[in-house]
Symmetry: C2
Subunit: 307 residues, 2 copies
């Protein structure tokens, strides 16, 4: 029997379920810390804006130094100036947005940071899906990079053979720091504005978002298991903190989602939960040629095909 | 006898001298670490762009965790798109820019962070002075805030009674984080685009920049001396690292100078030397009502008159 609820309701339910599954799996992988849960409501003195979300944060775990998994479902009127930025027209118009978004900063520099986000947006008469997932290692284990991309490719191929190559390229282009000439990490997938204006593709895109969201634990946790118990040096920890600085640079200088959230009055602490706990900026850090650190940076300067 | 050298040459020499004086004074105040000096040239395959600078960084000092003092003097052709942002026209046009810029991040949370910048820019047929100085305490000693503003006010009043009130307000408006509803610190002065198009005021503005640049050590170092030996707690250090996160947020999300530098191909490490070494972002940190931490944040939410 088909679920006849409107797509927006099913999408919100899906993203909530994905949040719940991922948080349980992360708690199990951490083995020590639990998520703190903050429910929040979107407040509006006029009552026209509504919705809210559930922000879940795990801090100071055995494996994860900071992990944030956010669900939100909000609606109201979008000012024309913002609608115009999304190519949806220049007048104020009703919107509905729901999504799940996560960033995980592990303690060990040998365990990569990761981000994933799947979302559904209705704006005026238009609606679309967006999302993606990417991996930011500090020390490059090629096996891990291949695994991460392989799981994403498999999930994409359940829907179209064209998705993975297209989304992989989109990801390399999106998560790029022009001032550094580096990608944020070794990529993954990214897509936005997916869905024809007549809405005909939306049911299949819903299933794509579902398969990708459910793939998260498979794409990431085996990497965590392989690396989490490896010993690491103070030097490696320092490099991790310096590279986290690049993560902050990307999110604050370039990330459209961050800017959009801050400019539209989103919940600040839920938006900036993406930032790592501890970060360093040192002037002109340098790494010996051929070192693991230099190798990683070289990899970020010329995106590779991993599968 | 009047120095008849062109204003651009005298300005560059002045800013270099100010850099030198400030670095000597900072080394003396630190008592341990010395500045590392990096001379850099602006490279251009066509030879049309030129100039360079001297970036001076003191790291891991006894008093200063990271202090950067940068001098630059560059010239070339500014693309019309950037000239337009400066209201100087929409065509490519020659530019010359020189300035001294510094950010000091002390180790102790009881010693405030400070920033100062004085600059002279020629763009097409226009030219102007800009600059300012502001103080970012982590724990508020009102005596320090009054001292800092008093020295700036005195220097401004050598030139016009209108400058300090005008520049003080400009500073509170400029160093503001809308998403946090907070100023970056307790302010100081800020000004830009100073100088009539006919250039008649430029000689007196040169003297203003000189007096303000030379006032830097007086406005900041007495505060350092008063606070540098005070003991502080781990809790205070944590608060400092969290507040440094706000400094990073301002510089990466809003600072026009940072964006301009990154977009025009400035020297990345010299631009981002403004970022603190160690920084933290914690989710929803909270401070008891009436605590020193809460008092500081309250002060940042409603700028005060300090002199």
């Amino acid at each position: 029997m088909t679920d006849r609820a409107p797509l927006r309701e099913r999408a919100a339910r899906l993203f909530q379920d994905i949040q719940s599954l991922i948080c349980s799996a992360l708690e199990e992988a951490d083995g020590s810390a639990k998520f703190r849960n903050d429910r929040w409501n979107r407040t509006d003195p006029n009552g026209a804006e509504g919705g809210g979300g559930l922000t879940r944060i795990l801090a100071d775990g055995a494996v994860f130094e900071k992990a944030g998994v956010n669900f939100s479902s909000v609606h109201g009127t979008m000012p024309g100036a913002f609608a115009a930025k999304l190519n949806a027209g220049a007048e104020d118009m009703p919107f509905f947005a729901t999504g799940v978004s996560l960033v995980i900063h592990p303690r060990s520099p040998l365990v990569p940071t990761t981000h994933a986000n799947y979302r559904y947006l209705e704006l005026g008469t238009k609606s679309w899906f967006g999302g993606g997932a990417d991996l930011t290692p500090y020390y490059l284990f090629e096996e891990d990079a291949r695994h991460f991309h392989r799981v994403l490719k498999n999930a994409c191929e359940l829907h179209s053979p064209e998705f993975y190559p297209r989304f992989k390229k989109w990801c390399d282009e999106y998560f790029f720091l022009p001032h550094r000439g580096e990608t944020r990490g070794i990529g993954g997938i990214f897509f936005d504005y997916l869905g024809r204006d007549d809405g005909q593709e939306h049911e299949s895109l819903f299933l794509l978002a579902k398969d990708l969201g459910l793939a998260f634990t498979d794409q990431y946790l085996p990497i965590v298991e392989r690396r989490k118990a490896l010993p690491f040096s103070e030097q490696q920890r320092l490099f991790q903190l310096q590279r986290r600085g690049r993560y902050v640079e990307f999110n604050l200088l370039y990330d459209r989602g961050t800017h959009f959230g801050l400019q539209t009055g989103g919940r600040i602490e839920s938006i900036l939960m993406s930032l790592p706990s501890l970060v360093r900026w040192d002037y002109c850090p340098s790494y010996p040629e051929g070192s693991e650190e230099a190798t990683l940076i070289e990899t970020l300067r010329s995106p590779r095909e991993w599968v």
